[in-house]
C-alpha cells in the first residue's frame, strides 16, 4: 500500500516541466566547447555550492547511505564525516586543487600531459572513464527501484520503462546545453531536493522520534551502531579505506573537480569546497536516519532479503499523500542532477583526453560541440544497457567504492606527484595506473567467479583490497619514478664514458 496519489503525480509533472524548460532554455548561451564542458568558467560560489551538492546526491546516494543506516546504524555515516573533513581541509589549504585550477586545464588528464606526456594523459582518460562509467552504471537501476517501491506502481518492465524515461529527459537537456544546462537545472534541483530531504527528516524526528531511533540502533548493533571501530562489519579497515577513498574523491573525482574547473577563479573554487564540506555529513546522515527509521518501523519479512529496498518501502507508507509528490520530485531532482552532471563529466574526458590523439589539427567549435553531444548520447545508451543487466552482489556503497577506486587510487597518486614532486615521471605514473586498476578489477572478478567468490569475500574483502590499491598505487609511483631516474642516470653515465 502506498500513499502516492494524483496530487503527487501533478507535483512531479510540474517539477519535470519546469526543469526541462530551464534546461533547454539556456542552450542558446552555448557557443564554444568550453561553454559546453565547463560553462565558460563563469560559475560563482553559490551556484557552485548548489551544483556540487545536487550532483553528489542522487537517488543512488540516498539508497546506499540509507542502506548503511539500516545495516550499520549511525556509524554508517562515517564515510560522510571523513569526506567532509577532507573537503574542508583541501578547500582551506588548496592542496592540489589550487595548482590544478591555476593550470587552466579542462580535465585532470590534460594536466598530467604537461608532466608525464601524452600517453599518460590518454591512459588516465581511459581509467577515469572506465572507473566512472562502471560506477555510474548502477545509478539508473537503483533510481528505478526506488521509484517503483515508493510509488507502489507495478507492471511488467516498469522499472526499465521508468529508467528509460528518466534517462531520455536528462539526456535531452544535457545534450543540448551541456554543463550550462547542468548548472541551471542543478540549482533548481538543489532547492527541490533540499526541501524534500529536510521535510522527511523533520517528519521522522517528530513522528518516529529520536529516542526510538537511538533505541533501535542500540538493540540491533550495540555500541557498533555508534562507533565504526567496534562495529563487526566495519572496523579500522573500513575507516581507513573510506579515508583514502573520500580524500581521493575530493582531489580527483571528475564531477567534483569539474566544479572547481568551471569556477570563475581559484579562490571561488576553494570557497565552494569549504562551504559545501558540511553537506557531505548531511549526505550520509540524513538518508542514514531514514534507513534507521525503516529498521525501527518495518519487520525483516516486510523488507525481504534486499536491504536496499528498506528505505523506499518505509517511505511509501510513512509519507502522506500530498507530501509524497514533493518527496518524489526531490528524489527525481537529486537523480537527474547527478545523471546529467556525470554524463557531461565523463563525456568531457572522452572528448578532451581519449580523443585527443585524433584531434591533431584544431577542430572547429561546431564540430567539437557535435562530438560532445554525440558522446553524451552514447553514454546514455551504455548506461541503459549496463544498468539493466549488471547483477549487483554485496552492498551498493562497497561496489561503488571498489569501482571508484579503479581510478581514484592512481589519479590521486598522479595528481599529488604532478603538483608536488618534481622528480616524478611517466614510469611512476604508468605503474600507479596499472596497480590502481589491476587490484580492484581482480577483486571484482574474484568476487564474481563462483570458485573464488567465497575466498575473495572472506579472506580479502573490499576494504583490504581497497587499502592495498591506494598504498600500491602510491608505491608504484615512487618506485617507477625512481627506476626511470636510475636508468637515465646510467645511460647518461654510459654516454659520457
Amino acid at each position: 500500500m502506498t500513499n502516492f496519489s494524483w496530487i503527487d503525480g501533478s507535483v512531479v509533472g510540474l517539477y519535470l516541466l519546469v526543469t526541462m524548460i530551464a534546461g533547454i532554455f539556456v542552450r542558446k548561451y552555448v557557443g564554444r566547447v568550453e561553454d559546453f564542458l565547463i560553462a565558460g568558467r563563469e560559475m560563482n560560489v553559490y551556484l557552485g555550492i548548489a551544483s556540487l551538492a545536487a550532483t553528489e546526491f542522487g537517488i543512488v546516494t540516498c539508497m546506499y547511505t540509507a542502506q548503511n543506516g539500516y545495516e550499520k546504524g549511525f556509524a554508517g555515516a562515517t564515510p560522510g564525516i571523513l569526506q567532509a573533513l577532507a573537503m574542508f581541509l583541501v578547500g582551506l589549504t588548496g592542496f592540489c586543487v589550487k595548482p590544478l585550477r591555476d593550470s587552466g586545464v579542462m580535465t585532470i588528464p590534460e594536466l598530467f600531459e604537461k608532466k608525464f606526456g601524452p600517453r599518460i594523459r590518454w591512459a588516465s582518460g581511459v581509467v577515469i572513464v572506465l572507473g566512472g562509467l562502471l560506477n555510474m552504471g548502477m545509478f539508473l537501476r537503483t533510481g528505478g527501484e526506488f521509484l517503483v517501491k515508493v510509488t507502489g506502481l507495478s507492471g511488467t518492465h516498469l522499472l526499465e520503462i521508468m529508467m528509460t524515461i528518466l534517462l531520455i529527459l536528462v539526456a535531452i537537456y544535457t545534450v543540448l546545453g551541456g554543463m550550462l544546462s547542468v548548472l541551471v537545472t542543478d540549482f533548481l534541483q538543489f532547492i527541490v531536493m533540499s526541501v524534500g530531504l529536510i521535510l522527511v527528516t523533520v517528519m521522522i524526528l517528530t513522528r518516529v522520534g529520536w529516542g526510538r531511533l537511538v533505541e533501535t540502533v542500540e538493540r540491533h548493533f550495540g555500541a557498533g551502531g555508534f562507533n565504526p571501530f567496534v562495529n563487526s562489519t566495519m572496523g579500522w579497515q573500513y575507516v581507513l579505506f573510506n579515508a583514502f577513498l573520500n580524500t581521493a574523491a575530493v582531489l580527483t573525482w571528475q564531477t567534483v573537480i569539474q566544479r572547481l574547473l568551471a569556477s570563475r577563479d581559484t579562490k571561488t573554487g576553494m570557497k565552494i569546497y569549504t562551504r559545501t564540506s558540511f553537506f557531505f555529513v548531511a549526505r550520509f546522515l540524513i538518508p542514514g536516519i531514514w534507513g534507521i527509521a525503516a529498521l525501527a518501523t518495518l519487520t525483516s519479512q516486510q523488507v525481504g532479503h534486499n536491504t536496499l529496498h528498506a528505505m523506499p518501502l518505509f517511505l511509501s507508507s510513512f509519507i502522506p499523500a500530498g507530501v509524497m509528490g514533493i518527496v518524489i520530485a526531490a528524489m527525481l531532482a537529486a537523480d537527474m542532477s547527478t545523471d546529467s552532471s556525470y554524463m557531461v563529466t565523463w563525456g568531457s574526458v572522452i572528448y578532451n583526453d581519449i580523443l585527443a590523439p585524433f584531434r591533431k589539427s584544431r577542430w572547429s567549435e561546431k564540430k567539437g560541440l557535435l562530438w560532445n553531444r554525440a558522446i553524451i548520447a552514447l553514454i546514455g545508451v551504455f548506461l541503459m544497457f549496463y544498468g539493466l543487466w549488471y547483477p549487483l552482489k554485496g552492498d551498493l556503497w562497497t561496489y561503488l567504492g571498489v569501482t571508484g577506486t579503479i581510478y581514484l587510487s592512481s589519479m590521486s597518486a598522479l595528481l599529488i606527484a604532478c603538483c608536488y614532486w618534481k622528480k616524478s615521471n611517466s614510469w611512476g605514473a604508468a605503474g600507479a595506473i596499472f596497480f590502481g586498476a589491476f587490484i580492484p578489477v581482480l577483486y571484482l572478478v574474484l568476487e564474481q567467479v563462483p570458485a573464488t567468490a567465497s575466498f575473495a569475500k572472506k579472506n580479502i574483502g573490499p576494504y583490504y583490497s581497497g587499502i592495498a590499491t591506494y598504498l600500491l598505487a602510491g608505491l608504484a609511483m615512487v618506485i617507477g619514478s625512481w627506476l626511470k631516474l636510475k636508468v637515465k642516470a646510467k645511460q647518461s653515465k654510459g654516454e659520457e664514458a
Binding site: V26, Y29, G31, R32, D35, A39, G40, E42, M43, N44, V45, Y46, L47, G48, I49, A50, F74, A77, I81, L180, L183, V184, F187, F190, I191, S194, V195, L197, I198, T201, V202, L205, W210, G211, V214, E215, E218, F226, R275, F278, F279, V281, A282, L285, I286, I289
Partner: protein, 52 residues
C-alpha cells in the same frame, strides 16, 4: 542513550545548517545564474560580431 550526544549534536547541526544554507543559496544562486548568463551572452555577441 547518554553517550550518544555526538550523533544528536551532528544530526541537529545537519538539519539546522542544511535548512539555512538552502534558503541562502536559493537567494544568492539566482544572482549567480543571472551574472553567468549575462557574461556568456556578451561573450557570444562579441565573438559573433568579430566573425562577421
Amino acid at each position: 542513550m547518554k553517550g550518544h550526544w555526538f550523533w544528536l549534536l551532528i544530526t541537529a547541526s545537519c538539519v539546522i545548517w542544511y535548512s539555512t544554507i538552502t534558503i541562502y543559496v536559493a537567494y544568492k544562486g539566482v544572482k549567480d545564474i543571472k551574472y553567468m548568463l549575462r557574461r556568456l551572452a556578451s561573450r557570444k555577441n562579441r565573438s559573433e560580431e568579430s566573425s562577421t
